[in-house]
């Protein structure tokens, strides 16, 4: 025991997953379920809007329900994408440093791109 007066249980506490071990897995599934209706809606919208004029597209993006659904699609979609690409990086990149750097870059990029899209959507909806 080397003079350690703590019980084996006390020493083990806090060293395990602390019930957060499945967080990545769970977040990936939760975002997947949320994306089922969102992607169906977005695919239909994309087909309808891909050839539309500037004013038509802006009026569509700026309507309240579409704004909410578009922001949800891009935010949840990028979160799901980031989680998925992280797994691909973990599977195929074997150098620890490069792996960590790639995961950080992908996460930063996802947040940056998501914010850029959300600001653009709000700008169409609320900007003059």
């Amino acid at each position: 025991m080397n003079g350690d007066l703590r019980t084996p249980l006390a020493r083990a506490r806090g060293l395990g997953s602390a019930k957060a071990g499945v967080h990545h897995w769970w977040a990936q599934r939760l975002t997947a379920i949320a994306l089922i209706p969102l992607v169906v809606w977005f695919a239909i919208s994309l087909v309808m809007m891909s050839g539309a004029e500037y004013e038509v597209v802006r009026a569509w993006i700026g309507s309240p329900v579409v704004m909410v659904l578009l922001i949800l699609t891009i935010a949840v979609g990028l979160h799901h994408a980031q989680l998925g690409i992280q797994v691909v990086i973990e599977d195929y990149v074997h150098s620890d440093g490069f792996k960590l750097a790639l995961i950080v870059v992908v996460r930063f990029l996802a947040v940056f791109v998501g914010l850029a899209a959300i600001v653009a959507i709000l700008n169409v909806g609320f900007g003059g």
Binding site: A32, L35, L46, V47, S50, G51, Y54, I74, I85, V124
Partner: protein, 132 residues
Amino acid sequence: MSVANRPVHRPLSPHLQVYKWQLTSVLSILHRATGIALAVGALYLTVWVMFAAATPATYAMFQSFNTSILGRIFLGGWLFCGFYHLCNGIRHLFWDAGYGFELKDAYRSGWTVVAVSLIATAASWIVGLRLV
């Protein structure tokens, strides 16, 4: 060097080149490939709304790409990736819940995913091309 310290050269998996091609593995690889393609497609969606937030002239530039042959292939490809990843993702969720692991079921759900995603892609292309 003791046995415990000797570097271990365990076989790495998967050895894609020694496996026979089969539906289950092809669909699994396709799930990853389409997932990566969709992540790139999310950048395209962002560019789309950013151009819509810009001037009519800038949007017209983006729109002329969208309606070009290359743009159509891009959007059509995105739709296939979306429908495939969606259908196969639902298949994965059923596996997560503990259903469909029998070989027969895995093949049946696999072919269903192929059929549904191809039909949905074809339908969206037909509707999309009629609208443009």
